[in-house]
Symmetry: C2
Subunit: 184 residues, 2 copies
């Protein structure tokens, strides 16, 4: 693929470079100049596509919420597997995940990102709708928050390296019995 004056594909290449950079140094250390360097392009080019750093991270968060919605939906009606899918997403797309939940980094209220977030929320609601009613009578939103919290917390602890070493290297296998405790 000969590079001409016009790159022709720069936007996705910059997003991929951003993911790489964030996985290495975290989202706050990101600089547009570094991204340009990684993409082999002049330092002013990224601004053409994203305006500024917040614009780029907004695009990344939007992409992330889309991927999360797809991942959770694909897990089907089984709530434990939906939770596992959430955790797997967080770990396999760590850069997206970290950006998504640091609203100060991007334009949290941007319409596109809000729509994508809404889709992701809905995928979790759908997974929970299939859970058989628990013995206790009133349930309310506590079940949803509990499921979300346990998946989100496990993912965060795993990513930060806080969990004990004995859990092995497969987060899905380690997470299944943990989430399972919530739905006995």
């Amino acid at each position: 693929m000969a590079r001409t004056y016009h790159h022709g594909n720069l936007r996705p290449v910059l997003l991929a470079a951003a993911i790489e950079a964030i996985e290495q140094d975290g989202p706050a250390a990101l600089s547009l100049r570094d991204l340009a360097r990684r993409a082999g392009v002049s330092h002013a080019a990224p601004a053409h596509h994203f305006g500024d750093k917040a614009g780029l991270l907004t695009a990344l968060a939007t992409e992330g919420y889309g991927l999360l919605a797809d991942a959770v939906s694909a897990a089907g009606d089984e709530i434990v597997e939906a939770g596992v899918a959430y955790i797997r997403f967080a770990i396999e797309h760590r850069a997206h995940f970290e950006v998504m939940f640091q609203p100060g980094l991007y334009r949290h209220d941007d319409p596109e990102v809000a729509a994508a977030r809404e889709r992701a929320d809905q995928s979790l609601v759908n997974a929970l709708a299939a859970v058989p009613k628990p013995p206790a009578a009133e349930d309310g939103p506590a079940a949803r928050l509990a499921a979300w919290s346990i998946a989100h917390g496990f993912a965060g602890l795993w990513i930060s390296g806080a969990l004990p070493a004995g859990l092995g290297s497969d987060p899905a296998a380690a997470a299944r019995p943990v989430i399972g405790r919530l739905f006995r």
Copy 2:
């Protein structure tokens, strides 16, 4: 308190300034020069006490683990209240919490911070030891991870503003029924 040439109390003042700065802009945006400005001291002074930014954040993480251990221990033997104490700590000491779980920011293996972390871990173990054995036979470490995950996840979601607005402004009250679901 007249300021002489020697400040006499600079170290804790710098830590307090760091907490303030992190609550405003996050830990990655922290600069030693900004801290010096907040403390009303020359820009080279912080290096005297902490060497560099990682040194300062290591001190902050150490302090944080100590506070967390105290908070969880003070909640006593009741596991739900221990979880609520964890969440309350995370929200009331957001700067400490954010630093503690971003190991790339500080010297994670520093002996002092490791000892403080060990104390905090132990406080959670103690709280769980008092839980009555669940109906299911084998339990193992899944119970501990589930409790830790649900508290950690709820705190993270609350701090990032991801939770729905209807929960009110008291995280402890909102968290209690959520954690409670794990120990019915």
